[in-house]
């Protein structure tokens, strides 16, 4: 008899992962977790170690040191039963080029005992509009949709999405966001990587900022922003003004500035939550990985240096 008990342990726990490709260290003591029923976003520049971390968590790579548990199991020794519970959308698609989109989706569904309704998934993601097209002839965004559909078709408990909305038009991106929120709402743990801050602000319950193979910041979007904002006292307050005559916008801005001035603050009326998170992210990256100076010596460039972690403390 199977006793159905809610499992509240994290879906993913990576502990002190180390991984090298030759002399290049991709993961350098990376530790992170992802909760069930939540969207966890891994952020960081290209080459930060996000894909390597996901590869270790999906059993594609074996870390040199450290441990990773996915739904309580070691992914390196995963069984078909375990793999059926984990959906994966890999960065380069992983799609068989000689099959049509719908045939490939039906094939993916046939690997599972109780998959989602293939037609329903295809309709929701707009795959039905290119159902008979060969994968090799699909656009980048269409391939992304198909790869996403294949990742979720088996009703996974945990799904890894590597840049799920890259190359998608705004309307499809909105649908994909709704779908990802729906997955989390029904208990699925979602781990995604993205370079789109709008996606993070709109989707993520938790954020892990990764650089050079380790986690620099961790928490909710607001926690990461408030803990790592720049030391100049800038605060981003996002508001939407409705019903304003366009001609009156300059006057409205002047009033807002006057109000801010009464509180002793300067006001910049441009940024939003995503922009704020992006500035924090760039600042963290700059502090962690200063670019090469004009002489190529690795010294910080004069125009790109932000306060370091030590400065903030």
């Amino acid at each position: 008899m199977v006793c159905a008990m809610e499992d509240h342990s994290p879906a993913l726990v990576a502990d002190d992962l180390t991984l090298s490709y030759g002399s290049v260290r991709a993961l350098d003591g990376l530790s992170l977790s992802a909760e069930r029923g939540a969207v966890t976003a891994l952020l960081g520049p290209n080459g930060a170690g996000k894909t390597s971390a996901i590869s270790c968590a999906t059993g594609l790579l074996r870390p040199d040191a450290g441990g990773v548990r996915v739904l309580g199991a070691d992914p390196w020794r995963s069984s078909p039963q375990h793999r059926a519970r984990v959906g994966v959308m890999i960065q380069d698609g992983g799609l068989t080029s000689g099959a049509s989109a719908m045939r490939l989706l039906r094939y993916g569904a046939s690997l599972h005992e109780a998959p989602l309704d293939v037609d329903e998934v295809a309709e929701h993601l707009g795959i039905d509009s290119f159902a008979r097209t060969l994968v090799r002839r699909l656009s980048g965004g269409q391939r992304q949709r198909l790869a996403l559909a294949l990742a979720i078709i088996g009703r996974p408990d945990l799904v890894f999405l590597d840049e799920p909305t890259a190359g998608m038009d705004p309307s499809i991106r909105r649908r994909v966001r709704e779908l990802i929120r729906g997955l989390a709402r029904t208990g699925t743990a979602v781990v995604l990587t993205t370079h789109l801050m709008d996606d993070v602000v709109g989707l993520a319950d938790a954020v892990r900022v990764i650089s050079r193979g380790r986690v620099l910041a961790s928490g909710s979007v607001q926690e990461v922003i408030s803990e790592h904002r720049s030391a100049d006292g800038a605060v981003v307050v996002q508001a939407t003004a409705a019903g304003v005559d366009p001609e009156m916008v300059p006057a409205l801005e002047a009033d807002l500035r006057a109000t801010a001035a009464r509180h002793g603050a300067r006001l910049e009326i441009t940024s939003g939550g995503a922009a704020d998170l992006e500035s924090v992210l760039l600042e963290l990256m700059d502090a962690d990985h200063p670019g090469p100076g004009p002489d190529g010596s690795g010294a910080p460039a004069a125009t790109a240096v932000g306060p370091t972690e030590e400065d903030r403390r």
Partner: protein, 264 residues
Amino acid sequence: MTDLRDPSSPDRTDRAPRPAAPLRRILAHAGLETRILLSNGEQLTVAIALPALVLIGLWLLPLGRLDGVPAVDTAVAATFATALVSTSFTSQAIITGFDRRNGVLRWVATTPLGRGGYLAGKILATLATHVLQVLVLGVIALIIGWRPDLLGLLGALPVWLVGTVAFGSLGLLVAGTLRTEAVLAVSNLVFVLLVAVGGIAFPTSSYPQILGGLVDLLPSGALGELLRACLASGPFSPGSALVLVVWAVAGVLAVVRWFRWTDS
């Protein structure tokens, strides 16, 4: 659609993620690969058209014949060997090479199918394609006068299976160790060389003595000789059987040792 799994649903347990039965997964993959192979014009050319040309060519031209044996019999033996190498080696090397470059092998390893299921499905797809090749080419051969011997066909069966393992593993070895562009070039070039001068189209007895000795040691030479023994009353050589088995075992071991599932 966005609420993919209602936690309060009474049939939640029934809908919990679990893999399909192993055989169903393997058959699903074999079906996909077979359809892809048979719906691709280039692959069909390699699988059917080229062996058919070999059949007609060797039937019409006074080449690759054995004394006292009807021309169609030696042509059929050479044709079936060509078909086996085309599908097991060339087609599989190309398909797998592109799958590797496109990340398919990485994705497959994360699914319930897994790497073992992928390889099992691939072997089944190859065998299914072989059956189709034998049927199509056999019909053409019957039309031009081939009268098969049942015992010969039965004797060819184990040769066919061992040959499939030998050339299939060599195809995977090429696909799993070289860049995709090199896979295309190598698999096509090797195919042409094996058919033309590797003991498939012509019996090793027709080569100069030194060259014939070398060809005897090739898997193509062994396959050609064994199929000629079964289908064209040629001399049976236990040495050829041993050579083919050694290539099959060595090929599988080499795949286990050197096959890389990713391009990186």
